[in-house]
C-alpha cells in the first residue's frame, strides 16, 4: 500500500471514453467504443450485457491486459485519480494483484495446476510485500480461513485438483484479496458454479467487501446476481453503455428498451408467465457490420428513422442516471406517448 491514503478523489475508478479495438488485416472491430462510468469508493458496480457487449474487454483494458491484435485506442482510466494508461509496465505490475485484483470465471483454468494453493496465494505476499516463504504461508492460511475454507492448515498444501469448484473459487478470491486491494474486478465469478455454491460465494464477497471497504467491478450476465450484490449498474450493448443507474432504479424503472427487453425475456423462478416469453427479436449485430445509428435500433420495437441514422449520446438526468436513447431526448420523432413497457410484438 502506498503511504497515507489519498483522499482527493471520490471515485476509486473513473473511466472516461474508453476505446479498445481489435485490428485484423482490413478491419477494425471496436469491442469497447467510448465507455464511461465510475465506481465510488467502497461501492459495487455491476456491468451487465450479453456475449460480445464488451464487458470483459472493458475489465481487461483497466488492468492493461489487452494483447495484440487488440489495443486501447483512447480514453482515460483514472484509478485513485491517476490515469493507468500513462503508467509504465513496471508501475502496472506493482498495481496488479496489489491495488487492483481480478477474479476470473473459470476457477479451473485460472489456477496453476502444478503449484499448491498456498504457493499461489503466497506469491502475491512475496512479490508485493517481500515476505519470506514461511511468513507467506502463514498469511496464506489466514486468507483461506477468511474465505471460509475448512481446515486451512491442511488445504494450504493441496493442489487445485484436490478441491471442488466452489473451493477453487474461494481460493481465487483469497489470492485476489491477499494484498487488500482497493478495487476488485470480478468477471463472472459465479457463472460456473451451482446456485447453492453461488449463494455462498456472493455472500462471502459482499461480506469481505464491507470488511475491507473495497470497490468492486462485477461483470455478469445474470441480472439476479446484480440485484443481490450491486449498488450501481451499467448495462452494455455492442461496446457502449446504454444505461447507468443505481440498482433500485434499474429494477423498478428501467428506461432503455434493451434493458426492458432483457428483463422481460428472463423467465423468473418466482412468477408464472402466461403464454410466450417476451423476446428481443433478431440477434446482436456483427461487430464488423455495426448499425450506423443506435446499435440497438435493428432489434428495437420503437426504433424510428432518427434511431436508425443517428447515434444517441449518453445523457445524464437530474438524478444522475444515464441513458442512451432518443426516446428520452427532445429530438424524439416517434410517438410522444411511447411506453417502453408495452411491447407490441412477440415473435419466436
Amino acid at each position: 500500500m502506498t503511504g497515507a491514503p489519498d483522499t482527493s478523489y471520490d471515485n476509486i475508478l473513473e473511466i472516461k471514453n474508453l476505446q479498445t479495438s481489435f485490428f485484423t488485416k482490413d478491419l477494425e472491430v471496436k469491442a469497447v467504443d467510448g465507455v464511461s462510468f465510475s465506481i465510488p469508493k467502497g461501492k459495487v458496480l455491476g456491468v451487465v450485457g450479453e456475449s460480445g457487449s464488451g464487458k470483459s474487454i472493458t475489465s481487461l483494458s483497466i488492468l492493461r491486459l489487452i494483447e495484440e491484435p487488440g489495443k486501447v485506442k483512447g480514453g482515460e482510466i483514472l484509478f485513485k485519480g491517476e490515469n493507468l494508461l500513462n503508467k509504465s509496465e513496471a508501475q502496472m505490475r506493482k498495481i496488479r494483484g496489489n491495488e487492483i485484483s481480478m477474479i476470473f470465471q473459470e476457477p479451473m483454468t485460472s489456477l496453476n495446476p502444478t503449484f499448491t494453493v498456498g504457493q499461489q496465494i503466497g506469491e502475491s505476499f512475496r512479490i508485493h510485500q517481500g515476505l519470506s516463504k514461511k511468513e507467506a504461508k502463514k498469511k496464506s492460511v489466514d486468507m483461506l480461513k477468511l474465505v471460509g475454507i475448512p481446515s486451512p492448515e491442511k488445504r494450504v498444501d493441496q493442489y487445485p485438483f484436490e478441491l471442488s469448484g466452489g473451493m477453487r473459487q474461494r481460493v481465487m478470491i483469497a489470492i485476489a484479496l491477499a494484498c487488500n486491494p482497493d478495487l476488485l474486478i470480478a468477471d463472472e465469478p459465479t457463472t460456473a458454479l451451482d446456485v447453492t455454491i453461488q449463494a455462498q460465494i456472493l455472500d462471502l464477497m459482499k461480506d469481505l467487501q464491507k470488511k475491507l471497504d473495497m470497490g468492486i467491478l462485477l461483470i455478469t450476465h445474470d441480472l439476479g446476481v446484480v440485484a443481490e450484490t450491486c449498488d450501481y449498474v451499467a448495462v452494455m450493448y455492442c461496446g457502449k453503455v446504454v444505461e447507468f443507474t443505481d440498482k433500485k432504479t434499474l429494477f423498478t424503472e428501467p428506461k432503455h428498451p434493451y434493458t426492458v427487453g432483457l428483463m422481460e425475456s428472463i423467465p423468473q423462478y418466482d412468477q408464472d408467465v402466461e403464454g410466450d416469453l417476451a423476446v428481443i427479436k433478431g440477434s446482436v449485430p456483427s461487430p464488423a457490420d455495426m448499425p450506423k445509428g443506435c446499435r440497438f435500433a435493428p432489434r428495437c420495437p420503437f426504433a424510428t428513422d432518427l434511431c436508425r441514422n443517428k447515434l444517441p449520446d449518453l445523457e445524464t438526468d437530474e438524478d444522475g442516471n444515464q441513458i442512451r436513447c432518443w426516446i428520452y431526448s427532445d429530438e424524439w420523432d416517434g410517438d410522444p406517448e411511447v411506453n417502453v413497457y408495452e411491447r407490441s410484438e412477440s415473435t419466436s
Partner: protein, 340 residues
C-alpha cells in the same frame, strides 16, 4: 393425471460407472451417478429434471436413450422395455426418441452442411423417402426459424442461437415422439434463450411432442414444465406438478435450492437457507438420506435410514418427497438445528 397415457416409464434405474485402479486395472469402486430412480412421463407433457452438477440429471437422460448402457433397471417406452432390445431393434426406437444437447458448437459436425446434418438421420432411419428429403429439409428449417437458403452453409456460419436451432431441427427430422433436451438453452444469451424456449413450446403444440427437459435453471424450468423432478446425488428428492413444487415444496433441499437463486426483486428481502459445504462425492455417498450432511434439519434418523419418496397430507396427488421429517418441518414442530 390418471387419464393421461404414460409414454415413458423409468423403473429403478441405476447407472454406476466403474472406477478402475491398481496395477491390474480392476474395478475398485463405482460412481453411483444414478441410484434407483423411477418416474413416468405422460404423453404430451414436459417433465423437467433439475439439480446441481453431479446430481445425475444428464446421466438419467443418457441412460434412457442407452447412450450409456444403464447398470440396472427398466426403461419402458410405449410399453416396451427398451433395455432388453438388441441393437437393431433399438435403432428402430431411436426414431421416436431424440436428444438436443447443451453445446451447439460441439454437438453438430462442423464438416457437414446443414442439409447433410438434417438428412443423415432421415437416411439412417429411412424416415423420409429420398425424393422428399430436400423438401423436408426446407420445411424443417422453416419450422425452426431458419431460412431455407441457408441449407448449404456450414455450422461455423451460424450464431450460437441459430446452431441450437439446427440441433432442434435435426432432432425433429425423424418425427420423434419424445425429445430429451439436455441443458438445451443453458449456453445461450438470455435474449436468444427466450427465442429458443418459445420455439420449443411452439413445436410441442404443433407436433404434440413430449419433452424430458434437463436443466439447472429453475426460472426456465418453471416456464416450460408441467411437472418437475428435483434430484440430489443420484436420487429423486422431490417430484411434483409445477405449481406444487414452487409454492408447496416439502423437501429441505428443494427449499434451499429455490432460496439460493438470486432474485431480481430488489424491494422484497428474501429469506435464504444457506447450505453449508459442497455436494459429497457420489463414489461414497452419505449413508441414510444423502442430503443429511448439508441439511439444517438432519437428525440421527436421517443419518441411518434412507427416506422413501412419499405423499402425505396436504400434498397434491402425484406430489412426493423423500424426507423423514417433512410433516414436522411444515408444522414447525421440527426446527432447523443450529450448528456450532
Amino acid at each position: 393425471m390418471s387419464d393421461q397415457k404414460v409414454l415413458l416409464k423409468v423403473n429403478e434405474l441405476k447407472q454406476y460407472f466403474p472406477i478402475k485402479g491398481g496395477i491390474f486395472g480392476r474395478t475398485v469402486n463405482h460412481v453411483k451417478a444414478v441410484d434407483d430412480v423411477s418416474f413416468e412421463i405422460f404423453e404430451g407433457e414436459t417433465l423437467s429434471i433439475v439439480g446441481e452438477s453431479g446430481c445425475g440429471k444428464s446421466t438419467t437422460g443418457r441412460a434412457i436413450l442407452r447412450l450409456d448402457e444403464p447398470t440396472a433397471g427398466e426403461v419402458e417406452f410405449d410399453n416396451t422395455n427398451i433395455l432388453e432390445l438388441d441393437k437393431k431393434e433399438m435403432n428402430k426406437f431411436r426414431k421416436d426418441m431424440q436428444i438436443i444437447f447443451q453445446d451447439p458448437y460441439a454437438s453438430i459436425n462442423p464438416r457437414h452442411t446443414v442439409r447433410q446434418i438434417l438428412t443423415e438421420a432421415m437416411e439412417i432411419q429411412n424416415a423420409v423417402p429420398k425424393k422428399e428429403r430436400n423438401d423436408r429439409v426446407k420445411e424443417l428449417m422453416d419450422t425452426v426459424g431458419l431460412g431455407p437458403h441457408q441449407a448449404d452453409r456450414y455450422p461455423h456460419e451460424f450464431s450460437g442461437g441459430q446452431r441450437q436451432r439446427i440441433g432442434i431441427a435435426r432432432a425433429l427430422s425423424v418425427n420423434p415422439r419424445l425429445i430429451i433436451a439436455d441443458e438445451a438453452v443453458s449456453a445461450l444469451d438470455v435474449s436468444i434463450q427466450a427465442q429458443v424456449i418459445n420455439l420449443l413450446k411452439k413445436l410441442q403444440r404443433e407436433f404434440k411432442l413430449t419433452y424430458l427437459f434437463i436443466s439447472h435453471d429453475l426460472g426456465v424450468v418453471r416456464h416450460i414444465s408441467d411437472r418437475i423432478i428435483v434430484m440430489y446425488l443420484g436420487k429423486i428428492v422431490e417430484i411434483a406438478d409445477k405449481n406444487s413444487l414452487f409454492t408447496n415444496n416439502m423437501h429441505p433441499y428443494t427449499k434451499a435450492l429455490l432460496s439460493a437463486i438470486p432474485s431480481t426483486d430488489v424491494e422484497k428481502k428474501k429469506e435464504r437457507i444457506m447450505l453449508k459445504g459442497d455436494v459429497p462425492s457420489p463414489i461414497d455417498p452419505p449413508e441414510g438420506c444423502r442430503f443429511h450432511t448439508r441439511c439444517p434439519f438432519a437428525t440421527d434418523l436421517c443419518r441411518t435410514k434412507v427416506p422413501e419418496l412419499r405423499n402425505t397430507e396436504g400434498m397434491k396427488d402425484g406430489h412426493r418427497a423423500a424426507c423423514h421429517h417433512m410433516e414436522a418441518i411444515r408444522s414447525g414442530e421440527h426446527q432447523a438445528q443450529v450448528h456450532a
